[in-house]
Protein backbone atom coordinates (compact mmCIF):
# COMPACT_ATOMS: atom_id res chain seq x y z
CA UNK A 1 0.00 0.00 0.00
CA UNK A 2 1.24 3.46 -0.88
CA UNK A 3 -1.29 6.30 -0.53
CA UNK A 4 -0.67 9.94 -1.16
CA UNK A 5 -3.05 12.35 0.49
CA UNK A 6 -3.20 16.11 0.28
CA UNK A 7 -5.25 18.46 2.43
CA UNK A 8 -5.29 21.99 1.04
CA UNK A 9 -6.92 25.32 1.71
CA UNK A 10 -5.95 28.62 3.27
CA UNK A 11 -3.85 29.40 6.31
CA UNK A 12 -5.88 29.48 9.47
CA UNK A 13 -8.13 26.58 8.50
CA UNK A 14 -6.00 24.25 10.57
CA UNK A 15 -5.16 21.89 7.77
CA UNK A 16 -1.60 21.33 8.84
CA UNK A 17 -2.84 20.23 12.23
CA UNK A 18 -5.31 17.96 10.47
CA UNK A 19 -2.45 16.43 8.50
CA UNK A 20 -0.49 15.85 11.68
CA UNK A 21 -3.45 14.20 13.35
CA UNK A 22 -4.08 12.02 10.34
CA UNK A 23 -0.42 11.01 10.20
CA UNK A 24 -0.31 10.21 13.86
CA UNK A 25 -3.54 8.23 13.69
CA UNK A 26 -2.32 5.93 10.93
CA UNK A 27 1.32 5.95 11.97
CA UNK A 28 1.17 5.55 15.70
CA UNK A 29 -2.19 3.88 16.16
CA UNK A 30 -2.38 1.77 13.05
CA UNK A 31 1.28 0.89 12.69
CA UNK A 32 1.74 2.18 9.15
CA UNK A 33 4.75 3.99 7.82
CA UNK A 34 3.81 7.59 7.40
CA UNK A 35 5.32 10.89 6.48
CA UNK A 36 3.71 14.28 6.76
CA UNK A 37 4.95 17.51 5.23
CA UNK A 38 3.49 20.93 4.71
CA UNK A 39 3.81 23.92 2.55
CA UNK A 40 2.78 27.34 3.66
CA UNK A 41 3.56 30.97 3.12
CA UNK A 42 4.59 33.67 5.52
CA UNK A 43 1.01 34.51 6.43
CA UNK A 44 -0.27 33.30 9.77
CA UNK A 45 -3.72 33.40 8.22
CA UNK A 46 -5.11 33.69 4.76
CA UNK A 47 -2.34 32.46 2.47
CA UNK A 48 -2.34 29.14 0.69
CA UNK A 49 -1.66 26.22 2.98
CA UNK A 50 -1.38 22.53 2.32
CA UNK A 51 -0.22 19.36 3.94
CA UNK A 52 0.74 16.07 2.35
CA UNK A 53 0.45 12.77 4.16
CA UNK A 54 1.92 9.65 2.62
CA UNK A 55 0.95 6.31 4.08
CA UNK A 56 2.76 3.15 3.14
CA UNK A 57 3.69 -0.32 4.29
CA UNK A 58 7.29 0.25 3.33
CA UNK A 59 9.80 3.06 3.82
CA UNK A 60 8.84 6.36 2.31
CA UNK A 61 11.62 8.36 0.75
CA UNK A 62 10.44 11.34 -1.22
CA UNK A 63 8.19 13.01 1.34
CA UNK A 64 5.93 15.06 -0.87
CA UNK A 65 2.78 13.76 -2.55
CA UNK A 66 3.07 13.62 -6.31
CA UNK A 67 0.23 11.41 -7.57
CA UNK A 68 -2.65 12.02 -5.27
CA UNK A 69 -4.83 9.19 -4.10
CA UNK A 70 -6.85 11.56 -1.99
CA UNK A 71 -7.23 15.32 -2.25
CA UNK A 72 -9.28 17.41 0.13
CA UNK A 73 -9.80 21.08 -0.61
CA UNK A 74 -11.21 23.85 1.50
CA UNK A 75 -10.60 26.69 -0.94
CA UNK A 76 -11.14 27.28 -4.60
CA UNK A 77 -7.53 28.20 -5.15
CA UNK A 78 -6.28 24.96 -3.69
CA UNK A 79 -8.80 22.99 -5.69
CA UNK A 80 -7.72 24.67 -8.89
CA UNK A 81 -4.04 24.20 -8.08
CA UNK A 82 -4.10 20.54 -7.17
CA UNK A 83 -7.00 18.88 -8.90
CA UNK A 84 -4.73 17.92 -11.77
CA UNK A 85 -2.39 16.09 -9.41
CA UNK A 86 -5.18 13.65 -8.62
CA UNK A 87 -4.53 10.14 -9.90
CA UNK A 88 -7.00 8.43 -12.15
CA UNK A 89 -9.51 7.02 -9.76
CA UNK A 90 -8.34 9.24 -6.95
CA UNK A 91 -10.80 10.67 -4.49
CA UNK A 92 -11.42 14.39 -4.23
CA UNK A 93 -13.30 15.85 -1.29
CA UNK A 94 -14.16 19.54 -1.08
CA UNK A 95 -16.26 21.97 0.79
CA UNK A 96 -19.25 23.14 -1.14
CA UNK A 97 -19.28 26.60 0.42
CA UNK A 98 -15.74 27.43 -0.66
CA UNK A 99 -15.25 25.32 -3.75
CA UNK A 100 -16.97 25.11 -7.09
CA UNK A 101 -15.92 21.78 -8.54
CA UNK A 102 -14.93 21.92 -12.19
CA UNK A 103 -13.20 18.62 -12.84
CA UNK A 104 -14.79 15.64 -14.52
CA UNK A 105 -14.18 13.59 -11.40
CA UNK A 106 -16.88 15.26 -9.34
CA UNK A 107 -15.82 13.56 -6.13
CA UNK A 108 -17.40 14.42 -2.84
CA UNK A 109 -18.76 17.94 -2.35
CA UNK A 110 -19.57 18.25 1.34
CA UNK A 111 -21.21 21.07 3.31
CA UNK A 112 -18.39 21.17 5.83
CA UNK A 113 -18.30 24.91 6.43
CA UNK A 114 -22.01 25.32 6.69
CA UNK A 115 -22.53 22.36 8.98
CA UNK A 116 -19.58 23.37 11.13
CA UNK A 117 -20.95 26.86 11.50
CA UNK A 118 -24.35 25.48 12.30
CA UNK A 119 -22.93 23.31 14.99
CA UNK A 120 -20.17 25.49 16.48
CA UNK A 121 -21.10 29.01 15.44
CA UNK A 122 -17.71 29.40 13.76
CA UNK A 123 -15.60 27.37 11.35
CA UNK A 124 -13.00 26.73 13.99
CA UNK A 125 -13.32 22.92 14.01
CA UNK A 126 -13.77 22.47 10.29
CA UNK A 127 -10.37 20.80 9.95
CA UNK A 128 -11.44 18.05 12.31
CA UNK A 129 -14.83 17.76 10.68
CA UNK A 130 -12.99 17.20 7.42
CA UNK A 131 -10.95 14.41 8.96
CA UNK A 132 -14.07 12.62 10.12
CA UNK A 133 -15.61 12.84 6.69
CA UNK A 134 -12.40 11.80 4.99
CA UNK A 135 -12.09 8.74 7.21
CA UNK A 136 -15.59 7.64 6.36
CA UNK A 137 -15.29 8.24 2.65
CA UNK A 138 -11.82 6.85 2.05
CA UNK A 139 -11.41 4.30 4.81
CA UNK A 140 -7.77 5.32 5.02
CA UNK A 141 -7.92 5.71 8.76
CA UNK A 142 -10.16 4.59 11.59
CA UNK A 143 -12.21 7.12 13.49
CA UNK A 144 -10.93 5.52 16.68
CA UNK A 145 -7.35 6.24 15.74
CA UNK A 146 -8.26 9.80 14.84
CA UNK A 147 -9.86 10.24 18.24
CA UNK A 148 -6.68 9.20 20.00
CA UNK A 149 -4.55 11.45 17.83
CA UNK A 150 -6.91 14.39 18.28
CA UNK A 151 -6.59 14.00 22.02
CA UNK A 152 -2.83 14.42 21.78
CA UNK A 153 -3.02 17.59 19.78
CA UNK A 154 -5.79 19.82 21.04
CA UNK A 155 -6.04 21.70 24.32
CA UNK A 156 -7.91 19.70 26.95
CA UNK A 157 -10.67 22.28 27.19
CA UNK A 158 -11.54 21.92 23.55
CA UNK A 159 -11.24 18.15 23.35
CA UNK A 160 -14.93 17.52 23.70
CA UNK A 161 -15.76 19.92 20.92
CA UNK A 162 -13.12 18.37 18.74
CA UNK A 163 -14.48 14.91 19.25
CA UNK A 164 -17.92 16.21 18.41
CA UNK A 165 -16.45 17.71 15.26
CA UNK A 166 -15.00 14.34 14.35
CA UNK A 167 -18.43 12.80 14.76
CA UNK A 168 -20.03 15.55 12.75
CA UNK A 169 -17.53 14.91 9.98
CA UNK A 170 -18.16 11.22 10.10
CA UNK A 171 -21.90 11.90 9.84
CA UNK A 172 -21.32 14.16 6.86
CA UNK A 173 -19.06 11.56 5.33
CA UNK A 174 -21.69 8.94 5.77
CA UNK A 175 -24.01 11.30 3.93
CA UNK A 176 -26.09 12.28 6.91
Amino acid sequence: MYKEIRLAGTGGQGLILAGVILAEAVGVYEGKKVIQTQSYGPEARGGASRTDVIISDTDILYPKARHLDILACLSQKSYDSYINDLKEGGIVIYDTFYVQATAANKGYGLPLAIRTRERFGREIFMNIVLLGALAEITGIVKIESLKKAVANHVPKVTLEHNLKALELGSEIGRGK
Partner: protein, 275 residues
Protein backbone atom coordinates in the same frame (compact mmCIF):
# COMPACT_ATOMS: atom_id res chain seq x y z
CA UNK B 1 -17.89 54.84 -5.10
CA UNK B 2 -15.60 57.78 -5.33
CA UNK B 3 -12.11 56.52 -4.78
CA UNK B 4 -11.27 56.95 -1.11
CA UNK B 5 -8.45 59.40 -0.66
CA UNK B 6 -6.48 56.86 1.38
CA UNK B 7 -6.16 54.68 -1.71
CA UNK B 8 -3.99 57.31 -3.30
CA UNK B 9 -1.40 56.15 -0.81
CA UNK B 10 -2.13 52.46 -1.02
CA UNK B 11 -0.88 49.93 -3.53
CA UNK B 12 -4.36 48.59 -3.91
CA UNK B 13 -4.01 46.50 -7.01
CA UNK B 14 -2.74 42.97 -6.61
CA UNK B 15 -1.46 43.79 -3.16
CA UNK B 16 -4.71 43.91 -1.22
CA UNK B 17 -6.21 42.19 0.69
CA UNK B 18 -3.03 42.26 2.72
CA UNK B 19 -1.54 39.20 4.36
CA UNK B 20 -2.47 40.14 7.90
CA UNK B 21 -4.94 38.07 9.87
CA UNK B 22 -8.57 39.08 10.25
CA UNK B 23 -8.83 41.66 12.99
CA UNK B 24 -5.09 42.25 13.27
CA UNK B 25 -4.43 45.66 14.76
CA UNK B 26 -1.54 46.31 12.42
CA UNK B 27 -4.03 47.06 9.67
CA UNK B 28 -5.73 49.68 11.81
CA UNK B 29 -2.37 51.22 12.58
CA UNK B 30 -1.58 51.35 8.88
CA UNK B 31 -4.95 52.93 8.29
CA UNK B 32 -4.19 55.63 10.86
CA UNK B 33 -0.66 56.13 9.59
CA UNK B 34 -1.71 56.72 6.02
CA UNK B 35 -4.35 59.20 7.05
CA UNK B 36 -1.81 61.00 9.20
CA UNK B 37 0.55 61.22 6.26
CA UNK B 38 -2.16 62.62 4.03
CA UNK B 39 -3.35 65.08 6.62
CA UNK B 40 0.22 66.24 7.10
CA UNK B 41 0.02 67.44 3.51
CA UNK B 42 2.63 64.98 2.29
CA UNK B 43 2.46 63.56 -1.20
CA UNK B 44 3.46 60.04 -2.15
CA UNK B 45 6.84 61.08 -3.40
CA UNK B 46 7.66 62.97 -0.24
CA UNK B 47 7.71 59.86 1.87
CA UNK B 48 9.82 56.77 2.37
CA UNK B 49 8.41 54.08 4.62
CA UNK B 50 10.96 51.69 6.08
CA UNK B 51 10.54 48.50 8.05
CA UNK B 52 12.38 45.42 9.26
CA UNK B 53 10.85 41.95 9.30
CA UNK B 54 7.65 40.88 11.01
CA UNK B 55 3.92 41.18 10.49
CA UNK B 56 4.09 44.90 11.25
CA UNK B 57 6.99 45.21 8.89
CA UNK B 58 4.85 44.10 5.99
CA UNK B 59 3.09 47.48 5.98
CA UNK B 60 5.49 49.32 3.64
CA UNK B 61 4.64 46.86 0.90
CA UNK B 62 1.13 48.32 0.84
CA UNK B 63 2.07 51.97 0.82
CA UNK B 64 2.28 53.68 -2.54
CA UNK B 65 5.54 55.49 -1.98
CA UNK B 66 9.20 54.58 -1.83
CA UNK B 67 9.22 51.65 0.53
CA UNK B 68 12.05 49.73 2.08
CA UNK B 69 11.54 46.33 3.68
CA UNK B 70 14.94 45.76 5.21
CA UNK B 71 16.36 43.05 7.46
CA UNK B 72 14.94 42.00 10.79
CA UNK B 73 15.77 44.71 13.29
CA UNK B 74 17.55 46.94 10.80
CA UNK B 75 14.87 49.40 9.77
CA UNK B 76 16.40 52.27 11.70
CA UNK B 77 19.98 52.09 10.42
CA UNK B 78 18.69 51.51 6.90
CA UNK B 79 16.38 54.49 7.27
CA UNK B 80 19.35 56.48 8.53
CA UNK B 81 21.07 55.95 5.20
CA UNK B 82 17.97 57.01 3.29
CA UNK B 83 17.37 60.08 5.40
CA UNK B 84 20.94 61.30 5.20
CA UNK B 85 20.97 60.75 1.45
CA UNK B 86 17.62 62.52 1.06
CA UNK B 87 17.04 64.83 3.99
CA UNK B 88 14.00 66.20 2.19
CA UNK B 89 12.17 62.87 2.40
CA UNK B 90 9.87 62.22 5.33
CA UNK B 91 11.21 58.93 6.60
CA UNK B 92 8.78 56.81 8.56
CA UNK B 93 9.87 53.60 10.22
CA UNK B 94 7.24 51.05 11.11
CA UNK B 95 8.33 48.20 13.32
CA UNK B 96 7.14 45.42 15.57
CA UNK B 97 8.11 45.13 19.21
CA UNK B 98 10.49 42.28 18.39
CA UNK B 99 11.99 44.05 15.45
CA UNK B 100 12.49 47.38 17.16
CA UNK B 101 13.20 46.34 20.73
CA UNK B 102 14.68 42.85 20.60
CA UNK B 103 17.10 42.48 17.70
CA UNK B 104 16.87 46.16 16.82
CA UNK B 105 17.15 47.60 20.31
CA UNK B 106 20.60 49.04 19.85
CA UNK B 107 19.73 50.96 16.72
CA UNK B 108 16.65 52.26 18.48
CA UNK B 109 18.53 53.83 21.37
CA UNK B 110 21.29 55.18 19.17
CA UNK B 111 18.87 56.77 16.74
CA UNK B 112 17.13 58.39 19.68
CA UNK B 113 20.50 59.64 20.88
CA UNK B 114 21.52 61.04 17.50
CA UNK B 115 18.12 62.63 17.01
CA UNK B 116 18.08 62.22 13.26
CA UNK B 117 14.71 63.38 12.00
CA UNK B 118 12.49 60.34 11.59
CA UNK B 119 9.15 59.06 12.78
CA UNK B 120 9.13 55.60 14.31
CA UNK B 121 5.83 53.80 14.68
CA UNK B 122 6.19 50.87 17.02
CA UNK B 123 3.41 48.32 16.72
CA UNK B 124 3.48 46.63 20.07
CA UNK B 125 1.43 43.46 19.97
CA UNK B 126 3.33 41.92 22.89
CA UNK B 127 4.75 39.05 20.89
CA UNK B 128 6.50 37.94 17.73
CA UNK B 129 3.59 37.57 15.36
CA UNK B 130 5.37 36.59 12.19
CA UNK B 131 7.25 33.65 13.68
CA UNK B 132 4.24 32.31 15.51
CA UNK B 133 3.76 33.92 18.87
CA UNK B 134 6.99 33.78 20.82
CA UNK B 135 7.64 36.06 23.76
CA UNK B 136 9.02 39.51 23.06
CA UNK B 137 10.66 42.23 25.14
CA UNK B 138 7.19 43.67 25.75
CA UNK B 139 5.45 40.45 26.78
CA UNK B 140 4.12 41.16 30.26
CA UNK B 141 5.19 38.88 33.09
CA UNK B 142 2.82 36.02 33.61
CA UNK B 143 1.57 35.92 30.03
CA UNK B 144 1.92 32.90 27.79
CA UNK B 145 3.80 32.63 24.55
CA UNK B 146 5.19 29.85 22.41
CA UNK B 147 8.52 30.21 24.15
CA UNK B 148 6.87 30.84 27.49
CA UNK B 149 4.78 27.73 28.01
CA UNK B 150 4.92 28.18 31.78
CA UNK B 151 4.25 31.90 31.67
CA UNK B 152 6.79 34.61 30.93
CA UNK B 153 8.91 35.55 33.92
CA UNK B 154 11.14 38.18 32.33
CA UNK B 155 10.32 41.77 32.94
CA UNK B 156 9.20 43.85 29.99
CA UNK B 157 10.48 47.04 28.44
CA UNK B 158 8.72 50.33 28.51
CA UNK B 159 9.81 51.41 25.05
CA UNK B 160 8.73 54.97 25.65
CA UNK B 161 10.81 55.29 28.80
CA UNK B 162 13.88 53.91 27.05
CA UNK B 163 13.41 56.20 24.07
CA UNK B 164 13.17 59.15 26.39
CA UNK B 165 16.24 58.14 28.41
CA UNK B 166 18.12 57.67 25.16
CA UNK B 167 17.32 61.11 23.82
CA UNK B 168 14.11 60.96 21.77
CA UNK B 169 12.49 64.38 21.48
CA UNK B 170 8.92 63.16 21.00
CA UNK B 171 7.42 60.08 22.61
CA UNK B 172 3.75 59.15 22.53
CA UNK B 173 1.46 56.16 22.90
CA UNK B 174 -1.96 55.17 21.73
CA UNK B 175 -3.87 52.00 20.83
CA UNK B 176 -5.66 50.53 17.87
CA UNK B 177 -8.92 51.25 19.62
CA UNK B 178 -8.14 54.96 19.80
CA UNK B 179 -7.60 55.39 16.09
CA UNK B 180 -8.41 59.07 15.90
CA UNK B 181 -6.11 59.83 18.77
CA UNK B 182 -3.48 57.62 17.18
CA UNK B 183 -3.71 59.47 13.91
CA UNK B 184 -3.23 62.79 15.67
CA UNK B 185 -0.15 61.49 17.48
CA UNK B 186 1.38 60.23 14.25
CA UNK B 187 0.75 63.61 12.68
CA UNK B 188 2.50 65.29 15.59
CA UNK B 189 5.39 62.86 15.28
CA UNK B 190 5.74 63.55 11.57
CA UNK B 191 5.76 67.24 12.21
CA UNK B 192 8.36 66.97 14.93
CA UNK B 193 11.92 67.63 13.84
CA UNK B 194 14.08 64.90 15.31
CA UNK B 195 13.56 61.35 16.50
CA UNK B 196 9.88 60.80 17.29
CA UNK B 197 8.36 57.59 18.60
CA UNK B 198 4.71 56.59 18.58
CA UNK B 199 3.99 53.32 20.32
CA UNK B 200 0.78 51.67 19.15
CA UNK B 201 -0.66 49.08 21.49
CA UNK B 202 -2.10 46.56 19.08
CA UNK B 203 -3.91 43.24 19.03
CA UNK B 204 -2.57 39.99 17.65
CA UNK B 205 -5.71 37.93 18.06
CA UNK B 206 -4.26 34.94 16.24
CA UNK B 207 -1.36 34.30 18.56
CA UNK B 208 -0.96 36.46 21.62
CA UNK B 209 -4.69 36.80 22.02
CA UNK B 210 -5.34 33.13 21.56
CA UNK B 211 -2.47 31.92 23.74
CA UNK B 212 -3.68 34.17 26.52
CA UNK B 213 -7.40 33.50 26.06
CA UNK B 214 -8.10 37.12 25.44
CA UNK B 215 -10.84 36.50 22.92
CA UNK B 216 -11.00 37.82 19.41
CA UNK B 217 -9.95 41.17 18.00
CA UNK B 218 -13.11 42.82 19.26
CA UNK B 219 -12.53 41.58 22.79
CA UNK B 220 -8.95 42.78 22.69
CA UNK B 221 -10.04 46.21 21.52
CA UNK B 222 -12.57 46.34 24.34
CA UNK B 223 -9.73 45.61 26.69
CA UNK B 224 -7.74 48.50 25.25
CA UNK B 225 -10.79 50.74 25.53
CA UNK B 226 -11.41 49.86 29.15
CA UNK B 227 -7.85 49.83 30.43
CA UNK B 228 -6.43 53.02 29.08
CA UNK B 229 -5.74 56.28 30.77
CA UNK B 230 -4.67 59.48 29.15
CA UNK B 231 -1.49 61.02 30.51
CA UNK B 232 -3.29 64.33 30.86
CA UNK B 233 -5.86 62.78 33.17
CA UNK B 234 -3.41 61.31 35.65
CA UNK B 235 -3.26 63.23 38.84
CA UNK B 236 -1.77 60.59 41.08
CA UNK B 237 0.63 58.01 39.56
CA UNK B 238 -1.43 55.36 41.37
CA UNK B 239 -4.27 55.92 38.92
CA UNK B 240 -2.09 54.71 36.10
CA UNK B 241 -1.23 51.41 37.74
CA UNK B 242 -2.16 48.50 35.56
CA UNK B 243 -3.34 50.86 32.85
CA UNK B 244 -2.06 51.68 29.42
CA UNK B 245 -1.03 55.31 29.58
CA UNK B 246 -1.72 57.06 26.30
CA UNK B 247 -0.98 60.51 24.98
CA UNK B 248 2.15 62.56 24.42
CA UNK B 249 4.55 61.36 27.09
CA UNK B 250 7.54 63.48 26.21
CA UNK B 251 8.05 66.41 23.89
CA UNK B 252 11.18 68.53 24.01
CA UNK B 253 13.40 70.42 21.61
CA UNK B 254 16.94 69.35 20.78
CA UNK B 255 19.23 69.91 17.83
CA UNK B 256 18.49 67.52 15.01
CA UNK B 257 21.32 65.36 13.70
CA UNK B 258 21.47 66.55 10.13
CA UNK B 259 21.23 70.17 11.19
CA UNK B 260 24.28 69.72 13.37
CA UNK B 261 26.00 67.81 10.59
CA UNK B 262 25.53 70.82 8.35
CA UNK B 263 27.55 72.72 10.89
CA UNK B 264 30.35 70.20 10.43
CA UNK B 265 30.19 70.72 6.69
CA UNK B 266 30.41 74.42 7.28
CA UNK B 267 33.46 74.05 9.49
CA UNK B 268 35.14 71.67 7.08
CA UNK B 269 34.54 73.85 4.06
CA UNK B 270 35.91 76.83 5.85
CA UNK B 271 39.24 75.04 5.63
CA UNK B 272 40.89 74.23 2.34
CA UNK B 273 40.30 71.01 0.40
CA UNK B 274 42.69 68.08 0.28
CA UNK B 275 40.95 66.40 -2.62
Amino acid sequence: MKIPEIFEFIRVDERLPHILCPGCGIGSAMNAMVRAIIESGLKNDDVCVVSGIGCSSRIPGYIDADTFHTLHGRAIPSATGVKLAHPELEVIVIAGDGDLLAIGGNHFIHAARRNLDMTVILINNFNYGMTGGQASPTTPQGKYAKTAPYGWTERNFDACAIAQASGAVFVARSTTYHVTHLRTLIKQAIKKKGFALVEVISQCPTLYGRLNRMGDAVKMLEYFRDNTISISQIKDPKEAEGKIVIGVLHDVEAPEYYETYKEIIRRAQAQKHHV
